[in-house]
Symmetry: C2
Subunit: 198 residues, 2 copies
DNA sequence: GGAATGACAGATATTGAAATCTGTCATCCG
DNA sequence: CGGATGACAGATTTCAATATCTGTCATTCC
């Protein structure tokens, strides 16, 4: 399928694996398929990834990192902490909603992968709450947020908005009232964060 | 198994069905099993429930209603609206956590059932957010909560606490920090609800 | 010598035939 | 006559044989 351009690298294997997962789905995507797509023997794939699980974990991490990187930009954007917080949460919701809506089959595939790789997801959540913490810290320093310890509050905000980013709610993301629900939750959280004097 | 005491009633069928589900699990619990447990032919069960799905839906509703009824008491309890709100959310979390922790297999069974009966779950959530709305209304009337329209805010509170009552998070309910997380989210929400003057 | 191969053993998935279940209904029983 | 029965057709599940896959490693190739 893909011509054997250049040497076999982890990067090329990951790309081929994504393609195989896209084509065959998570249940039928095999290491043999990946090797076939690359025009090599499956033994060669095992030189770069110790097990099939490790290969799938690497693919999962790549996929999650793409979201993290997109959101990282918002953390250091212009605007007040409240604006950035709202923008960040909206961007997270938007990213997830589009992933789920634009290609439901691929999203289902990655949902299977994330269920298999709880540790990778935990890391991803760690990264995201870290970003949130930096926004909330900025608000605390500016005095607009009355928050003594930003990290646990960031986690609370992340958890409280789970309905708008956790894949287990993906089926609700096309409901008509979902945007109003999102706004209602975010408004409530921002009010809870905000310093009374502000 | 159960002797044919009295006449065959929907109630007795539901009890037998719960027992069969408890024993065999959701995948292997059949209408024939239920009939056998009652000492009747499976045709008789179909006199009371049109389909197997209808029977399972009825069982699901009973199970969900038990939780609703337990929480209903808290709505009209003594105490300030904030106290009642906190107590209600804590009781919901506690009820779910115990259901999941005390008998994980039975909880898994009912998780399958609720996944099958999205409509029954929607009704249940409607009932629960209704209870929440009444607590928040009381707070709005008392002036402790600054909430123009309690119903959507009640839904926001319910959704924001999903991590502490939605079965899809059941695996996290035994984590060590979970109580602190619960408190952090509830504190944030209560602050968001509270009137600044209060 | 370092990377790639493919044969291999054990684990996992697929398949199709047989068994069981769901839902109906003509019949039976009190 | 109203409720219970059990035989039945079609749908679903189970089970065991068969095929495929995973992961290893001695061998090959550049």
């Amino acid at each position: 399928m893909t011509p054997p351009t250049g040497t076999l690298t982890a990067e090329r294997i990951l790309e081929a694996t994504e393609e195989v997962l896209r084509r065959h789905g998570p249940a039928k995507a095999t290491v043999v398929d990946v090797a076939r797509a690359l025009g090599v023997s499956h033994g060669s794939v095992y030189r770069h990834f110790r097990t099939k699980a490790a290969l799938r974990e690497a693919v999962t991490k790549r996929w999650l990192d793409r979201t993290s990187q997109r959101l990282a930009g918002i953390v250091s954007m212009a605007g007040s902490p409240e604006e950035r917080l709202r923008a960040w949460l909206a961007a997270l919701f938007d990213a997830k909603r589009h992933k789920a809506g634009d290609d439901p089959e691929l999203f289902a595939t990655y949902t299977v992968l994330t269920d298999e790789n709880v540790a990778a997801v935990a890391e991803h959540i760690e990264e995201l709450t870290g970003q949130l913490t930096r926004i909330i810290e900025a608000g605390a320093e500016a005095g607009t947020f009355a928050v003594p310890d930003p990290a646990p509050v960031a986690r609370a905000v992340f958890q409280a908005t789970g309905r708008f980013h956790d894949p287990c709610y993906a089926r609700d993301w096309t409901s008509p009232g979902i945007d109003e629900e999102f706004t209602a939750v975010v408004d409530l959280l921002v009010r809870g964060l905000s310093s009374p004097s502000q």
